[in-house]
């Protein structure tokens, strides 16, 4: 009698408390990437903060590159245009992917190309600067320049690798929406943090 009543109670309880139906309001890959990007934003904010305070505290004539060198403003502006073009193409790829996933292949590849162009052109500038004696140890400005811009370049390469994997999987027809959104978010971060770095470090 008691056993029957316990069984019935269990049945009734199961009927009252239905098992949770999980629903995904945001893909886990995207949420994880958003949290990671938040941490990266703070990392760059710390670097830019250190740069700003050091620059403000340094004597005016001491805050420059050795041998009268200046940071390449104009050519970096061209690189910046390439980076923005890459971001815009990725936005287009996102829209195409949502409409019909296979349609995004070409625009995603173009976004990767322009992103890679930005990294290569930045690398060429670095080679020029190093050739003129601007190194990590040459001055405080040189040290900050290589650390901040170099860190951004590392992020750009990592984000390009993510976009490359996304493109490969898209071609093979096995790209998940969450992965695409994660890679897209990381690249947007790389694109959008760059103007802040450019404005603070180069000017």
């Amino acid at each position: 009698m008691a056993a029957m009543s316990v069984t019935r109670m269990q049945q009734q309880t199961m009927r009252i408390v239905r098992p949770a139906t999980r629903r995904e309001v945001v893909p886990s890959g995207l949420l994880g990437m958003v949290i990671f990007v938040g941490a990266e934003v703070m990392f760059f904010a710390g670097l830019i903060s250190a740069f700003t305070i050091s620059k403000a505290g340094a004597p005016r004539d001491a805050w420059n590159l050795p041998a009268g060198q200046v940071l390449p403003l104009a050519s970096t502006a061209v690189n910046t245009v390439a980076l923005f073009a890459s971001g815009a193409l990725l936005w287009v790829a996102g829209r195409q992917y949502r409409a019909r996933s296979s349609a995004a292949t070409e625009s995603l590849l173009a976004a990767i190309f322009f992103g890679a162009l930005f990294v290569v052109l930045q690398g060429r500038e670095w080679v020029d600067l190093i050739g003129h004696g601007v190194t990590l140890r040459s001055s405080a400005l040189g040290a900050f320049f290589y650390v901040i811009v170099g860190t951004h370049a590392v992020h750009a390469v990592a984000a390009l690798a993510g976009l490359g994997v996304a493109w490969w999987n898209l071609r093979a027809g096995r790209l998940s929406y969450g992965f695409f959104l994660g890679a897209q978010t990381f690249w947007y971060f790389v694109v959008l943090i760059w103007p802040v770095i450019y404005a603070r470090v180069y000017f």
């Binding site: 019935r8 109670m9 009734q12 309880t13 009927r15 009252i16 408390v17 239905r18 949770a20 139906t21 999980r22 629903r23 309001v25 945001v26 958003v34 949290i35 938040g38 934003v41 703070m42 904010a45 710390g46 903060s49 700003t52 305070i53 620059k55 403000a56 505290g57």
Partner: protein, 141 residues
């Protein structure tokens, strides 16, 4: 100044411990070291007073932080304050934006699908639950 305070504190603690435990030949008052310890304490106290007077008379020189509001150029004071504000507000803004974004997504999902079917456990009123657990023949209280 911190060193002087530390030395005074150490010497005082040593003297008190010695007196309490009867170390140094049975009693602090008879101890041969007492005049030297007291002289050291006196000197340390004098230095402490001197440091406090200097701090009161010339706070700008005594401040260790070169970018605080009282000293430094206007440029680095501004940079210090602006960066402090940025590093304080930026994480709060990001957390707030993320919470707002998630809340908006959840609200949108709720309008697309009724929450009762999708929000996990269905909570019934307590009286109704008691009645269901007791069985259909039981009368509600």
């Amino acid at each position: 100044m911190r060193e002087s305070i530390s030395r005074v504190a150490q010497a005082s603690a040593f003297a008190e411990a010695s007196a309490d435990r009867g170390i140094l030949g049975g009693g602090w008052s008879a101890c041969a070291l007492r005049p030297r310890v007291e002289r050291t304490l006196q000197r340390a106290r004098s230095r402490l007073w001197l440091a406090a007077a200097l701090l009161a008379a010339a706070p700008a020189s005594a401040l260790a932080c070169p970018v605080c509001g009282l000293v430094g150029t206007s440029d680095n004071t501004w940079a210090y304050q602006a960066m402090t504000a940025t590093l304080t507000l930026l994480p709060l803004a990001m957390i707030g934006a993320t919470v707002w974004w998630l809340a908006r997504l959840v609200a949108r999902a709720d309008t697309e699908r009724p929450p009762a079917r999708s929000a996990g456990k269905q909570i019934l009123p307590l009286a109704r639950r008691s009645q269901m657990l007791a069985g259909p023949e039981a009368k509600p209280r």
